[in-house]
Symmetry: C4
Subunit: 255 residues, 4 copies
């Protein structure tokens, strides 16, 4: 078995496709966006990436079967000028070498086999402090042309600092090397595990950019649930703050 | 030295063999089942897998010699229609790449060299909460045909969630890719280290499936010993519960 | 993509260049020295090393674009007999194999492609105890000839003990193997994160060795800021020392 | 650069050499034995193993130069029938793959290039409980012939349990595969860092086996120093034992 390869149903014809990459990461923003769009626009799987650089595990399916951990390409049913393809999966490559190999293969495959035009990676941008319900979407792109295009859709440039780890960053760098337009858009997030608010901000940008009509009901109910959970945590913490020191200490056993 | 290879005594002829894989993992269920069956049915070693992906260590033998850590194939003396071969060993591969390489080689070897018909991997399925003395056996298989067959032997499908890590899962996925029937059966276990009860549940399934008469005396005495140990731990914990908070805290130093 | 390669603008002609390597490490001494010299002598990038052994991440740039983590060669504008080239970057290779590969490639490239004459690696030398404002510069070199030369510039030999980890050490060893003069010079440092004092001591050695006139204003203001910060920390600690034991214990919760 | 290779001065002629391997490990027993024998019998370096599987670091030498971390072969000046060669070094390979590669190369080189007859690896055998001043030497060998030979020299067989990690074990297993006599001898040790007593027990075995006259003065003074240090620690601990519980708790801050 080759260490990284993509199984591809060769019959599929695509109209100058755009790839949107949503893999696990900060606030699960990429994964939430990808999942939401696949459901909304009845995504159909057209290709699967397998790699020995992914964690060595299988998913137990409800039908009693198994599926190897993978990254999967879904073609959306939209009426956009360019076809939209979503890439998502359970995991990213584990090692530096794996990250380089897998993400290079994603860019190569999308450009050479699918004749792709542009790649948008989606991630979360860590902001410290309190949970915000009006996160911005920050961007870093491969060229001024791409920056100009996404500014119109509400993305903020030049305010992100530091580094982007893994697929969301490497795919933009490798696209640039292979002369493919590319951008990473990141919803501001103060929640490590799952931030539906940041995901909604990104979905708004994508719907504006591609004139899509994305139903926000599901993501809104996730936002409500999250907000409620946070309120409860905060009220617990402030009631603890009112307790004498000893009790506060005990509360740490709960975690 | 090639990084992964199987030494194989070529003279051995097998009748459409079934492979049962029991390697270290949750509750040591796979390892317990494999060891028990090898003893019960006088397993004879027919092949040995060596790999630089296994931990770099040797076993000190009672006869004063050493043996490289390995995975070993044993042919059982049973009167079943299909020969039964057990695969067991001290360790699994360490890295993702190692897991992919070693488990692919196991499937390839069993299908191509031993002309194998089916692979059953055995594992433990983590359930939280108290130790159960009536664990179920959950399954995830490569095809509906296999699911149907193992339902008859008492395996429960569609109730396992999450992922299977390592050989127990990858071997089923790789078998499916190489068009070989395969299944992972998992005894429910709340004990991380060693759960003979879960192992017994799996042994019952296997004895029913292959009309084997497995002597449960040894495993039953292990179950008794485990149950006794757990009772003692519980009585210790509940007597601690009766102590004032300060004493409970001290008890944690014992661990 | 090859796992490690250097992109090189082939037109550039160099006069028997000297390479000064300043990568992240103890006290950030190497990085501080490299950055300061590039600014001071208007360094111009002439080559870039990419490697799948570096951490898989990209830098977010102020102009809204991205840059792959890399190691970069800058040619300084100096009037020295030998051209001076600085090598710096955000990261070093992660694994042992990566360290061997990347650092071998740096030495090979500098000797074969740039016709380099000597390599100086810069690092920090860990000394325990209090922050010193008069750190020495210790050295370890490839030959007695190099030792003699750098003694004149104030480097102390034979007083460093233990090992040098990563690029600062391997590059000297690999240079020796490839018969290239080489030395590692280390500013004594008791600060793990960033030690501008140690960096200044190294800058003095380099300015003496190459008759450079390095403006120390920037590094001096960093030294002042660091000294102020340390004083504040010390006064905090000594005021804690005056507190009864119980209070001291509590203060540890703050960290 | 090849990832693992041995630089070898080809002129050297050896009389059916025996290799004694003493690398870092439990109680530093191997390293202590190797160092002692090299000093005692004026060992002269005849070969050096370099590998990108060793930790990526260099040693700072007293003469102001550097040396790459390596494993080195020393020929002893003894009047034994077989020449005795010692292999020692600062480190072992880091990864499983590295351990397999480096230790295979050691066996191959010794058998094929040096026409070696037997390999003895030296290690420590962990025993729990108090420091013993009369440790036994346990052995695990490649064949009954070797076991018989070393029993005469006082080595105990069949009482060691568990696994031998790294070079001390793998080299015996690989020797067996390449049909070379081999044994691992281990001094019992309850000290993780450095156990000169265990080293002395091994030195006695080696001096008996090869009719060597090893001066034990140096190792005896190390044993005395260790015994003194342990007594002091024990008296500290027993005086703590006399304190009320609260004070004992505090004493843990000292560590």
């Amino acid at each position: 078995m080759k260490n990284t390869f993509i199984k591809y149903k060769k019959g599929v014809k695509l109209k100058s496709p755009i790839l949107i990459v949503g893999l696990p990461g900060i606030g699960a923003v990429g994964k939430l966006v990808a999942t939401q769009m696949i459901k909304e626009f009845k995504g159909k799987r057209i290709a699967t990436l397998y790699s020995s650089h992914l964690p060595p595990r299988v998913i137990m399916l409800k039908n009693g079967k198994v599926r190897l951990v993978s990254n999967r390409f879904y073609l959306l049913k939209t009426k956009t000028k360019n076809d939209i393809v979503i890439l998502t999966g359970e995991d990213q490559a584990v090692t530096p070498e794996g990250q380089y190999t897998v993400n290079n293969e994603i860019v190569r495959f999308f450009k050479s086999e699918l004749k792709g035009k542009e790649i948008i990676t989606v991630g979360g941008y860590n902001i410290s402090g309190n949970y915000t319900d009006s996160p911005r979407v920050l961007g870093n792109a491969s060229s001024d042309k791409v920056i100009k295009e996404f500014k119109k859709a509400g993305v903020v440039f030049g305010e992100s600092r530091g580094t982007i780890f893994g697929a969301a960053g490497l795919i933009v760098a490798f696209s640039k090397m292979q002369k493919l337009d590319s951008i990473c858009i990141m919803g501001e997030s103060s929640l490590i595990d799952m931030d539906p608010n940041a995901a909604k901000a990104v979905l708004k940008v994508l719907s504006k950019k591609f004139s899509l009509n994305i139903d926000m009901k599901k993501i809104d109910s996730m936002i409500e649930a999250t907000a409620k959970m946070i309120k409860e945590l905060e009220s617990q913490m402030s009631s603890n703050a009112a307790l004498p020191p000893e009790s506060k200490e005990n509360s740490s056993y709960i975690r």
